[in-house]
Symmetry: C2
Subunit: 348 residues, 2 copies
DNA sequence: CTGAAAGCGCTTACAG
DNA sequence: CTGAAAGCGCTTACAG
């Protein structure tokens, strides 16, 4: 008999999962276990007749392969950690959704990690997640602790750093230039004739991409010979409510301001919504601009001028680059600028 | 020598992961592999001296346990699938965040699944995810395909059905009664003197929890001898923009309406933002109410009357119930009503 | 195209 | 408290 590979083993009372195993399928289909494995993972390498028998056995037994056994044997697992700095923010939800849709379609599982903008947490998370022998990894940003960098460089799987465009620290990168986005917004405000221009941001030490937007914003103003009138730094997470408070503060501290670039749309929308209550007309008394391109900005009055960041597309692109890396396909552009789009509307 | 368990094996050219293994740590610490395992998983069962040696070896080698080997050997894996119907919605983000925070703290990994409100996709997803031998599972809703139910009932791990309160189909439940929420809103509108009351919802066949709110809303109106004036059904996902369109439609189809309960805050906020453009005063011309309790509703003018659903708490609670189940601790209340809170504001 | 043997890196169950 | 043996359920590498 050709399938004596599937005999019962002694199995001294060890705990088994209870589920059907590849051995059960092999016995049912009267083939060797390895043939079952091939029928699943590389069907073309098995004769149609045997493939049919295996498929029937799988259906009859309700067989679901044990992923851990497979991953252990092949020392590679169809999982991909995606580490984001925040789960309080729609922005990262869209990145997650983009990556998910691509990975799930080819049978990869997303392992979601949240650092809350803490590089120490990122390092611990990454260490744990590497214990799953992931096929690849996606991490947010280009700034990591030395420990995280060392760990990822030692690791041999593909890795994509997302959110900001730049030279990859580890392997690959896809993102946008936040400096360029800030500069673009500065030039827009200048072109519209504003001259007493300020910036509002929250937690800029942690959200350093917002700080990069500020930096690009300021440089472009400088180049045009315009001084940045003020920078308001708030020490709480960005919310619509906080944007309203910021507006109040701007008008008490900087009553002559004629335009403000808010670090993101949440703050900017909050300012627009609060303005009528404060008797402030946007943009006549002060122009308001944001960043992200949240849908909400199109439904406030006046509509918000903002910069759209292609988050969904960035998530997808990162997953696609990773898959190429996993499959050993060439990735000609190891750093990809996903770009952004200025959307001038009524608020400026 | 007591550690002859750690001799080099023949290993005929098989692919190894390259990482340090438990055998490496054991050799380094001059103990048996099982001692390393115990030092990690049950430190109290190892003598302080040996524990110290093991810890030092782990640090020296940068050892990270291979999760797949552990999961395969113990036939249980520290992962928990969380299946949600949508990733386009902040609501589920908060549930995810709540569950994440509890599970991550005790070393469990969240496997995120998205069904896009498709029960067939749910079944496929669950089948794949069970291949990871998860410690437990969290699924959204109490309605599943027969196949999904059969699969989960056959499976022996703990499972929590979330989002809506009711008799668990599988194991445990935590959620809120959407019928009761609808009824509460109806009584609120009646108490404020409204009598020409309507409802707006989107994709009610899929988002059946919104349909449950409508059902409870209508029953409570009936009980008060008030007829539900209209139901507008829109066939696109709920967004702020769609809420504005809905308002327009209400005023052309039902010009005498004096109050509308929107299926969720996105729609309701959209209506409030669009109202001034249509020359409609809220609540004088028409009252607007929502559901979810998004922060945004507190910053529009007028502020939105809504029902707050404790999403973050629900995610946490589900994870806690699951952990209790995993640890074999008793869970006295297998179905938990997490409740909701009516927040009357200026829009009604 | 097919299979027997060996091994992935852990934990269980047993024995002291 | 400590360890040797066996096994979890797959895939790799070899051989035909």
């Amino acid at each position: 008999m050709e399938t004596d590979d599937t005999q019962d083993a002694p199995n001294k009372g060890r705990r088994r999962s209870g589920r059907a195993t590849i051995t059960d399928v092999a016995r049912h289909a009267n083939v060797a276990r390895i043939t079952v494995s091939r029928a699943i993972n590389d069907p073309g390498s098995v004769s149609p007749e045997r493939r049919r028998r295996v498929d029937a056995a799988i259906a009859a037994l309700g067989y679901v392969p044990n992923r851990h056994a497979g991953s252990l044997a092949s020392s590679m697992s169809p999982v991909v950690p995606l580490i984001v700095p925040s789960l309080s923010n729609t922005v990262f939800l869209e990145v997650i959704r983009g990556a998910q849709s691509v990975l799930e379609a080819v049978g990869y599982e997303l392992l979601l990690g949240n650092t809350d903008y803490d590089v120490e947490r990122e390092q611990k998370l990454m260490q744990t997640l590497l214990g799953w022998s992931p096929a690849g990894a996606i991490v947010s940003g280009l700034r990591h602790s030395d420990g995280t960098l060392a760990m990822l460089r030692r690791w041999d799987g593909p890795c994509v750093e997302i959110m900001e465009y730049g030279t990859p620290n580890i392997d690959m990168n896809v993102g946008l230039s936040h400096e360029a986005a800030g500069a673009t917004m500065a030039r827009h405000l200048i072109a519209r004739g504003y001259r007493r221009i300020g910036f509002v941001g929250t937690l800029l030490e942690w959200d350093y991409r917002a700080a990069q937007r500020l930096s690009g914003f300021q440089s472009a103003l400088d180049q045009a010979g315009i001084e940045l009138s003020f920078v308001e730094r708030l020490e709480a997470p960005s919310t619509v409510g906080l944007g309203g408070k910021a507006l109040k503060r701007i008008f008490s501290h900087h009553p002559d301001a004629d335009a403000t670039f808010f670090a993101n749309d949440d703050l900017a929308v909050g300012a627009i919504l609060e303005a009528p209550r404060l008797g402030i007309r946007v943009p006549d008394d002060m122009a308001v601009a944001g960043f992200n391109g949240l849908n909400l900005g199109n439904h406030v009055n006046p509509r918000l001028t903002t910069i759209v960041s292609p988050r969904l597309r960035m998530g997808r692109r990162a997953a696609e680059m990773l898959l190429a890396g996993i499959r050993g396909e060439p990735v000609p552009q190891r750093a990809q600028d996903i770009g952004f789009r200025l959307v001038p509307q009524e608020s400026t």
